[in-house]
Amino acid sequence: MTTHLAQAVRAAARLALSMAAVLVMAGGASAAPLRVVATLSTFAELVKQIGGDAVEVSYVAPPRFNPHFIEPRPSDVLKVKKADLLVHGGLDLEAWRGPILDAAGNPRVFPGQPGELDLSRGIALLEIPDQPLSRVMGDIHLYGNPHYWTNPENARIMAQAICDRLCEADPAHEPAFRRRLQAFLARLDRKIPEWRAAVAPYRGQEVVAYHNEWPYFAQFVGLKVEQFLEPKPGIPPTPRHLEFLEQYLTTRGIRAIIQPSYQPAASSQVLAQRTGATVVILAQNVGELPGTEDYFSWVDDNIRRLVEALGGPHD
């Protein structure tokens, strides 16, 4: 009887030791990089700029697809399930965000939790509806235009928000996050005047866009975008609307039609042929086009393409 008791005690002690070892290992595992999932590649890039090696970041929407119409995949669900932090655009751009959250069932990143970061907070939004809305107006955005990340000025606000949240989630790396934020902002401060100077000769000019996804970028470069190939948001171009645009471009001498790579180019090409304008493919997100793999090369590339279409660089 005593022998059995002693054996039981020894077994319990071994079990306790094993559990302690597991707990120690689990404690060690907390030094692993913070797992961050961003909805868009641009947000992921900003997280990478601030987080460096202390974060493991991935994104859901491949940049060469329209972020409005992503069908999340089981692999995306798994990413969100394992995430410590979900960085998203807020508003109503990512209509797939709710289903992916529900499918993942990760309470850490649910709305309002410390693991959720809505980058639209603090941004001066454009086109906030000031009248009753209806689907008669097309696929409208209820909370304002959600494409705010295309204005480099907003990168300051987004980067700051990301840094603050990373510091909260991983205080041990706070000094490194703050250093990287300062380096990013310093580089941004150097680049913004450079970008503005490149487009300065064209300030006030008007361009036409396929979809209303450039108001923030237009605000930054000082261009006007008042007409779109889509007669209403989300409604493809109609022959009648193209006829109207043909006259509009011709009478106003508009030289460029801007659109991202994922929108159909056929109607823009037809309009360009009829009016002599140039179709400019601009990347809506980091990584959408070759040579736009990081934040600065992305904006560089968009500015370069725009300047080339509007008349080439001025000395």
Partner: protein, 413 residues
């Protein structure tokens, strides 16, 4: 700083203007010089005042910035209510509401007065409700109305997260994760009608039962995602389904393993295995078994085109006099060749349960063209040629309109 500037200006003025008699004594040339100096001083005074004004403005700006830095953060500039702000959002606590309408016009050789046959029918109006109940759970319900049948409760279930080992549970009436097509709402199918194997075995409106199920995705080998699901459901199947009997008292158990592999950022392959065990009558439990295999390949060839290939096979194991292993399968393709257009086709073969006929099987070939009017409205024209087990041949043409109002959710692949 302001005082010192004024002092300097005063001293300068006194020095230059304070003893005019000394200059007056020096004659008319000196007087002219004095005037010139006076003008210079006046100009200097103006410059000084302008500088003074600038300094005051900058000081005011600096004070404002310092006050702003010391004060709590100001509210976000020009920002309306956002879905995640939770401020003034009554919608955040009310149910999300969506209405999906599925209207089908059918022209067929079948003269039976059945649902939607040779007429235009509102096949289904789905009222979809749902929202978070608390931090741990969400409630979803779908109520279906039709112009041919009584109102029915399609789904009403609670999803519970945060269970041990990160499992997720559903409790209530829902579509079990069986294969691909049986668990999809009718309006989300690639074609107007369900694949025959689904309609004959699980029911013409898919498979939805009350019960409890558990699921959990995890990382598998070779970059795969594995998602096992297990559940226990009330007995029976959907309308006109023959896999199990109609008794609800004999429970059905099911298990499904989804294996998903990303091939690129645009293409993926998914393989699924399903097992169901249920009863065909009150006499026994789990004497009918069904095994299923499903495979789906998706490739978004360009941002506006997409190819889908899908197939499902179900084999039964049951005690029957004539056929102990009835089986059915379909192969489907759908190709979105333009932003607003897609074409598709499906081949069906299904052996009927315990039926003696010349052919034992229903077979069909279907082809369709879909037009996406917008994200919320879709039209589909479909032709189906069916050869029934009874040797009767039937051709049918369908025109389907599907329209959505309110909250709509993008499905997970």
């Amino acid at each position: 700083m302001r005082m010192s500037h004024r002092l300097c200006a005063g001293v300068l003025a006194v020095l230059l203007l304070g003893s005019p008699s000394a200059f007056a004594d020096a004659g008319p040339g000196a007087t002219e010089e004095l005037r010139s100096l006076r003008r210079s001083v006046e100009a200097l005074q103006k410059t000084l005042e302008a500088q003074q004004w600038l300094i005051e403005q900058q000081q005011a700006q600096l004070d404002a910035l310092q006050r702003q830095a010391a004060a709590p953060p100001a509210p976000a500039p020009r920002q309306g209510p956002t879905p995640s702000s939770g401020i003034g959002q009554i919608g955040a606590i009310l149910p999300e509401i969506g209405v999906l309408t599925d209207i089908v016009a059918t022209a067929s050789e079948n003269k039976a007065d059945t649902e939607g046959n040779n007429r235009v029918a509102v096949r289904e109006v789905e009222l979809v409700l749902g929202n978070y109940v608390d931090p741990y759970s969400r409630y979803d319900a779908t109520i279906a109305f039709s112009d041919f049948e009584a109102v029915s409760l399609e789904e009403a279930y609670l999803t519970r997260w945060g269970l041990p080992w990160e499992w997720k549970a559903r409790f209530g009436r829902f579509a079990p994760r069986v294969g691909k097509a049986p668990s999809i709402h009718r309006d989300s199918l690639d074609s107007v009608d369900e694949p025959l194997v689904v309609a004959r075995y699980f029911g013409v409106e898919g498979y939805k039962r009350a019960g409890l199920d558990l699921t959990r995705p995890f990382e598998g080998p070779w970059g795969t995602v594995l998602e096992p699901s297990v559940g226990i459901l009330e007995g029976g199947v959907g309308e006109d389904g023959t896999l199990f009997g109609s008794t609800r008292l004999r429970p059905t158990v099911y298990s499904h393993l989804k294996t998903f592999k990303e091939l690129s950022d645009a293409s993926s392959v998914e393989l699924g295995l399903t097992h169901l065990a249920g009863s065909k009558d009150d006499d026994a439990t789990w004497e009918v078994n069904a095994f299923g295999v499903d495979a789906t390949y998706l490739n978004a060839l360009t941002p506006t085109t997409k190819l889908k290939l899908q197939s499902e096979l179900y084999v039964q194991n049951r005690e029957e006099a004539f056929d102990r292993h009835p089986w059915g399968a379909y192969v489907l393709t759908d190709y979105r060749f333009a932003p607003r257009w897609s074409v598709g086709a499906r081949a069906d073969h299904v052996r009927l349960v315990d039926t003696i006929t010349a052919r034992h099987a229903d077979q069909a070939l279907s082809a369709w063209l879909t037009f996406y009017q917008s994200e919320f409205a879709r039209w589909r024209l479909q032709y189906r040629h069916m050869e029934r087990a009874s040797e009767k041949t039937e051709d049918a043409v369908f025109l389907q309109g599907t329209f959505a109002l309110g909250t709509h959710k993008h499905a997970i692949q």
